[in-house]
């Protein structure tokens, strides 16, 4: 229980720190949203009125406090560019990005873990060379290029895939999958190429430990040694790595949404940055931070489920 309370406190502190950083970045970033909105021909009185309207004439600490107050109550302010509440804009785009991230995560997990186990079982020099080359390649390939390759070779040849745009789940499940599968693969492939090695290493690490010998000495067959004991113990380090994936996947969606013209959060973020639409950018950043920190929080809780040694401390 004390463990969970400590995690919750950490969660809140992280969110507060990120909110401060996000806010500060916009204060030092060049480019004035009002000038961008009104154009270069705008006169000073127009600028002043709009400033007042947006609350930008207030001292910085008051601006910050107002913003945080809004965050806590769920009001992220209005977008400067779209003149709509940020929460509404987010709600429109959220299903796309969340679906994309979830499908990506599922692909990574169901491929990387079995692949890692497979490679760990057949550990020899040749497979080490082959698979570490695969990892190098996976790390080096830029995702926009990989996305274009997938469009070219899969998207163009199979009518199942939609190569541009999005179909809501409510309209057609097959259509939504067709629109999301290729972008999800684009993010997942480099992730798999790197992460399966973590799985392999975690398993090989466990196989060296004394308790594995004890289990074998009881006459337990290799299948149970691997899937009951070794995999369960390896899940603790594997979970750490897969907790980090979430952040990488969310970051991945930003670029991939551009390549596949998906109307998600990432696309919204890029346009809002170029317009210096700071309430919208801050809202998106806070939202992404929340997701990542929240996933890490869940991972921490899962640790204590997986590892009885953490449960007690």
């Amino acid at each position: 229980m004390a463990y969970i309370i400590r995690r919750i406190i950490l969660f809140v502190v992280t969110m507060a720190t990120v909110s401060l950083i996000t806010f500060s970045v916009f204060q030092v970033m060049p480019g004035d949203p009002i000038r961008i909105m009104l154009g270069t021909e705008a006169d000073e009185t127009q600028v002043e009125t709009l400033k007042k309207q947006l609350g930008l004439d207030q001292p910085l600490h008051i601006q910050y406090m107002d913003w945080v107050k809004g965050l806590v109550t769920g009001d992220l302010g209005d977008s400067i560019r779209f003149s709509r509440p940020v929460t509404e804009l987010l709600a429109d785009r959220l299903p796309v990005t969340i679906s994309l991230a979830l499908i990506t995560l599922i692909i990574v997990v169901i491929v990387a873990i079995p692949l890692g186990i497979f490679v760990a079982k057949r550990q020899n020099k040749l497979s080490d060379v082959v698979f570490s080359s695969v990892t190098q390649l996976g790390m080096a390939v830029p995702s926009f290029w990989l996305g274009m390759l997938l469009i070219l070779y899969l998207g163009m040849n199979f009518s199942f895939f939609t190569i541009s745009g999005y179909v809501p789940w409510t309209q057609s499940v097959v259509g939504a999958l067709g629109a999301l599968l290729l972008p999800a693969l684009t993010i997942a492939i480099p992730q798999i190429a790197v992460k399966f090695r973590y799985v392999r290493n975690a398993i090989l690490e466990q196989l060296r430990l004394d308790y594995v010998r004890t289990i074998r000495s009881k006459g337990i067959t290799e299948k149970f040694v691997m899937y009951k004991h070794v995999l369960r113990n390896s899940m603790i380090p594997i979970l750490t790595v897969f907790g980090l994936i979430t952040a990488e996947v969310v970051a991945g969606t930003i670029i991939v949404e551009q390549v596949f013209s998906l109307p998600g959060i990432g696309q919204l973020l890029i346009t809002s940055i170029s317009y210096r639409d700071f309430p919208l950018v801050q809202g998106i950043v806070m939202y992404i931070t929340f997701v990542v920190v929240f996933i890490n929080f869940i991972v921490d809780i899962l640790y204590s489920v997986l590892d009885p040694r953490i449960r007690l401390n």
């Binding site: 006459g219 337990i220 007690l312």
Partner: protein
């Protein structure tokens, strides 16, 4: 003088009484650049039913590899049993298919290890790990297995067995974990218990408790014990017969009394000297100069010659063979060659 017939009869008796017979066991490890470490090099011995045999020697002498070879738990690669045979009640273990060998492990042979702190799976309860062993080899229901596990925990000395069964390894002390290991090893009444330095990592007071517990278990279940240790005090206390191992070979084999009173091999003599004696005032503890040579660099001739105070020119040239000095006493040393067979 015995007549040949009487001799034949006694050896037939011996056969019947024999539980484990290891013949010419060679376990080698492939090292980098084609080097081969002969960790166990032509080792033969036997263990009778109900007998406690101690296997002694310094670190690196091949004791643990010998015991893991019997269990066929040598990690391959790099290790491999390249030659020899191991019979358990007449059944050859080295040629058994892996699934049949798995039926032997934990059922006919139980094993406990040196490091109780790391020998149990940290994420499963004590109960789960005992029950796993029970249900692997016996056809019983889970609830029955749990009752049996509680019973086993009581036998190995846990008064709060009902609580312990739901605890995790990290909640127990080293001595308690070793008790749990004994409970697991004994869970299917094995014919042979292999104990690989079971007390080395424990406090002195706990050591005696664990040894006594092992001896109690042996009496209760009539098992034989192969006790691997480097502690001659422990040997004197519990062993019936002793095998002294050095650099992958057995250098002396004797009944425990003979080993201490009629010590033959210079290495055994040196080992015995390392036991502190409370009656003799010493300024320094004795130790054997030098270390066991690494298994890929065994010298020509006798492997102990370099550290031996009795070494002759011959010792550096010729490999001594294991001589039967008297029926129960064998020694691998050139010093005893002329009196061999006495």
């Amino acid at each position: 003088m015995h007549s040949p017939q009487v001799k034949l009869e006694s050896s037939a008796n011996l056969q019947e009484n024999m539980l484990l017979e290891v013949n010419g066991l060679k376990t080698y490890f492939q090292m980098e650049k084609g080097k081969v470490a002969k960790a166990v090099d032509n080792v033969s011995f036997s263990i009778n039913k109900g007998e406690t045999v101690a296997l002694v020697g310094e670190s690196g002498s091949g004791k643990s590899i010998t015991s893991l070879s019997i269990m066929r738990l040598i990690p391959k690669p790099p290790g491999e049993i390249v030659e020899g045979s191991i019979f358990l009640e007449g059944k050859e273990l080295l040629t058994l298919p892996e699934d049949e060998m798995a039926n032997v492990r934990g059922n006919d042979i139980g094993m406990i290890f040196q490091e109780p702190m790391t020998s149990l799976d940290p994420v499963f309860t004590i109960g789960n790990q005992i029950v796993e062993s029970l249900m692997r080899h016996q056809k019983i229901k889970k609830s029955e297995a749990y009752e049996k596990a509680i019973e086993l925990l009581k036998i190995v000395g846990f008064s709060r067995a009902e609580v312990i069964i739901n605890e995790y390894p990290h909640q127990l002390s080293g001595g308690m974990r070793q008790r749990v290991m004994i409970a697991i090893a004994m869970s299917n009444n094995p014919k042979l218990l292999i104990a690989d330095e079971p007390t080395t990592a424990l406090d002195v007071t706990v050591q005696a408790q664990i040894l006594n517990l092992m001896m109690d278990m042996k009496k209760k279940y009539g098992s034989s014990i192969l006790l691997i240790t480097h502690d001659m005090g422990v040997v004197a206390e519990v062993a019936d017969r002793v095998l002294v191992m050095y650099a992958g070979q057995i250098v002396e084999e004797a009944l425990v009394k003979d080993l201490f009173l009629k010590t033959k091999h210079p290495y055994t003599k040196a080992l015995l000297k390392t036991i502190p004696n409370i009656e003799v005032e010493l300024h320094r503890l004795d130790s054997i100069p030098g270390t066991v040579p690494p298994a890929h660099l065994f010298p020509k001739g006798c492997r102990f010659a370099e550290r031996c105070t009795y070494a002759m020119a011959k010792c550096h040239e010729e490999d001594p063979s294991l001589i039967e000095n008297s029926p129960d006493h064998k020694v691998r040393c050139h010093l005893y060659e002329r009196e061999g067979g006495m």
